[in-house]
């Protein structure tokens, strides 16, 4: 009996010892303050490598910059969910809860404004402002600016292009080239003539708002007239001739069957699959399309986004990713230094070539590796498109406006000339707290 109890005591002591030792080890791993190395966490959105640094994605940039810092910081990556809306929710929850691990965040520009106006982000140091604007495309700087202040670091500068089958376009007599942009009406006519579909994004999600915004902006309109206003004072411009032009294009594509049988549930991936299946001869989608297409790509052409109205420049969607630093981060200054490394010219070009996500720096577009990844003038077309790319309204209430738009424009086959009036009334009521979303 006595032997038994002493055995137990021994076991208890051993367990306690192991626990204490592991606590000590854990302490060493988390702070690393003894050696002076700051531990930074970077919340990345899924890309080619996800958390695997060997694949050339954001995880590898984290590794490269950690090494280059000479022991100043060490970046650990955390993967965010797939969709932009889910990424926003996770980041928002953590930021509101004052999570101190929010050192660096890859964020959709559409939501940076919301977070910055809620005072959830650490301000960009004035001393680094010039560096973060250097060599950047205008749309990327515009997307990261609110109230005349840079609120995040431009990282990718994404834009949508019109992808098409050269053979089908030729057969339909449609002359598309970088210097000869086409209109949506022309694309619709060509698709009708050749009995082919058009890949678009019209599911109830952020991607649908991207399309609606591009159509309205392309007709010279604005979804939000005064983005810096409060919710109650926000003035919308959906109920306008531009809004009606947008509704007409969506309605035509949906009701003529040109958007495919699942247009109302199609996102980027579904639209890409439709284009790849050859049922569609036209597709509006981000530049990753070229790398994602398999098989013979000799028939695939890329052009600037279609115009909403003839004679007026298109407003291609601006997407991309900004790097933001959380307000509760323990080392915001070091985090911004890391952001400078991640977005330097060399890293931007390398990332664009491997991951297929366009850089915000203009110089990257002439890098030999980038030209190889985006051949046949595609790299130049992306840069040209970025010149006129238009971000979604930089309003702190864009989340609500976007959801309202999607709801009112869904299903796409129900869109008609009255949709813009209805949408404007509904979203205004939502912003005033008079209606549910």
């Amino acid at each position: 009996m006595r032997r038994h109890s002493s055995g137990r005591r021994g076991l208890a002591l051993a367990t306690a010892g192991v626990m204490l030792a592991s606590l000590g080890l854990a302490a060493c791993g988390s702070s690393s303050s003894a050696s002076g190395t700051k531990a930074l966490t970077w919340y990345i959105n899924p890309d080619i490598g996800n958390t695997d640094p060997s694949k050339g994605g954001q995880a590898s940039l984290a590794q490269i910059c950690s090494k280059a810092s000479g022991g100043k910081y060490n970046i650990k990556v955390q993967l965010l969910p797939n969709s932009a809306s889910d990424q926003r929710i996770q980041l928002l929850r953590r930021l509101v809860a004052n999570d101190s691990s929010m050192d660096l965040m890859s964020m959709d520009p559409a939501f940076v404004t919301e977070f910055a106006s809620a005072d959830l982000l650490a301000p960009v140091p004035a001393s680094m402002d010039k560096e973060f604007k250097a060599d950047r495309v205008d749309s990327a700087i515009k997307g990261a600016t609110f109230d005349n202040k840079l609120i995040a670091v431009p990282f990718w500068a994404n834009t949508q292009l019109l992808w098409y089958s050269k053979k089908v376009a030729k057969a339909a007599g449609l002359d598309i080239s970088v210097n000869n942009p086409v209109t949506w009406a022309q694309v619709i006519d060509a698709a009708k003539k050749e009995k082919k579909q058009i890949g678009v994004q019209a599911k109830l999600y952020e991607g649908y708002s991207v399309w609606i915004n591009a159509l309205i902006a392309g007709a010279g309109g604005k979804i939000v007239d005064n983005p810096a206003a409060t919710a109650v004072d926000t003035k919308l411009g959906i109920n306008s001739p531009a809004g009606k032009d947008a509704a007409k294009i969506i309605s035509t594509i949906a009701n003529s069957g040109l958007g495919g049988p699942a247009m109302g549930s199609s996102d980027e991936t579904a639209a890409l699959a439709l284009f790849q299946s050859k049922a569609a001869a036209f597709l509006v989608n981000w530049p990753y399309t070229y790398a994602a297409l398999t098989g013979d790509k000799s028939d695939v052409g890329a052009a600037v986004y279609p115009r909403t109205v003839a004679g007026k420049d298109a407003a291609p969607p601006f997407g991309g990713i900004d790097l933001a630093v959380g307000k509760s981060s323990k080392s915001p200054e070091v985090a911004y230094q890391a952001a400078a490394c991640i977005t330097n010219e060399k890293n931007q070009a390398a990332y664009m070539a491997v991951a297929g996500n366009p850089a915000s720096r203009k110089a990257a577009f002439t890098d030999p590796a980038v030209l190889k990844a985006f051949p046949n003038g595609i790299a130049a077309t992306i840069l040209k498109s970025l010149g006129t790319a238009t971000p979604r309204p930089l309003s702190p209430y864009w989340g609500d406006i976007s959801t309202g738009l999607q709801q009112q424009f869904s299903p796409p086959s129900s869109v008609n000339a009255n949709t813009p009036v209805k949408a404007q009334k509904f979203i205004t009521n939502v912003l005033k707290g008079k209606a549910l979303l």
Partner: protein, 320 residues
């Protein structure tokens, strides 16, 4: 002995008017001990159950958005007025009620049929029970994705088979998730597939308690099979049916996963829980979201109350 004592106390309390009967020291001691033993657990229960409810009630009186903390304002019952006067709220409530009623009726019928089969079969009963339970053991969100992928016209196999079996009459590119009714059909089907086993197990427990001799007596009296079920079996297992109906009705009324995964609320397939989720999580409108959650909670209470009263079953047995 106890009868004499009871009569005495009864008489004494009657003499003193409506005063409670005196309790012995021993009973009093036992009660105290009972409180001491169960008290901490009771306190924890109150904290984990009532605190969130009370906090939600408190928050529902504010116009409070996480991303706009400066605009936080006490608005009394404005959130409730907005919700109750919003067509979207009633549309979501209607869709939720429709899904609840349809799935409940179908599941009750199928569940009863499966329970009867399981009750009659003697030998492979355990195996059968396990097989029947498989859909219920699958996580709802996983089964929702399975049904979504099965019915999608591009990745799914259902359209292919419907096209084949109808000799080409069914359009293989038919989009089930493109309209309200077709989406609701798939949502209801997946719900029914998943929770019928749960119903059948609860009903089987009730069936097992039905007195065989009563069924035999009915048979001797010349009752048909249907008459035996309606007059003898169903009334005898009323409590089991009630438990099954109440559990399932409340479960169905809180439906979230299936419509969220399959349509995301598109084509008017929003349910109340999805509305609560969108206001609270997506919009971070904590005040409005809490008001909606409270309204959902009230609906659930009403459903439970109506069903329990409707069935007229005394679940406390003879203990009171």
């Amino acid at each position: 002995m106890s009868t004499v004592e009871d009569t005495k106390t009864g008489a004494r309390s009657a003499r003193r008017g409506e005063k409670k009967p005196q309790i012995s020291d021993r009973t009093r001691g036992e009660r105290k001990l009972g409180w001491k033993l169960a008290g901490p657990a009771f306190l924890v229960m109150i904290l984990v159950t009532f605190y969130p409810i009370a906090y939600a009630l408190y928050l529902s009186l504010f116009n409070y958005r996480l991303t706009d903390p400066a605009a936080r304002k006490f608005v009394w019952f404005q959130n409730y007025i907005t919700s109750l006067s919003d067509p979207l709220f009633w549309k979501a409530t209607g869709i939720t009620a429709l899904i609840t009623i349809i799935t409940l009726i179908v599941e009750l019928v199928f569940g009863m049929a499966i329970a009867m089969v399981m009750n009659k079969i003697v030998l492979p009963r355990k195996t059968l029970r396990t097989i029947v339970l498989i859909p219920y053991s699958i996580i709802t969100v996983v089964s929702a994705f399975s049904w979504l992928y099965a019915f999608k016209f591009d990745t799914g196999f259902v359209n292919h088979w419907l096209h084949f079996l109808s000799f080409g009459a069914f359009d293989p590119t038919y989009n089930w998730f493109g309209g309200t009714w077709s989406s609701l059909t798939i949502i209801c089907l997946s719900e029914i597939w998943k929770t019928t086993p749960f119903m059948s197990l609860l009903l089987l427990a009730g069936l097992a308690q039905v007195d065989q001799s009563m069924e035999e007596a009915a048979k001797v009296d010349g009752a048909s099979w249907w008459q035996t079920q309606v007059k003898v079996v169903f009334p005898s297992m009323k409590a089991a049916i009630m438990v099954a109906v109440v559990f399932r009705a409340l479960d169905a009324f809180r439906i979230y996963d299936n419509p969220y995964v399959m349509t995301g609320g598109a084509n008017n397939t929003d349910t109340l829980s999805m509305l609560v989720g969108r206001e609270t999580v997506t919009r971070a409108e904590i005040g409005m979201g809490s008001a909606l959650a409270v309204l959902l909670f009230i609906f659930v209470l009403i459903i439970a109350g109506v069903l329990v009263r409707g069935f007229k079953v005394d679940l406390t047995g003879d203990k009171n």
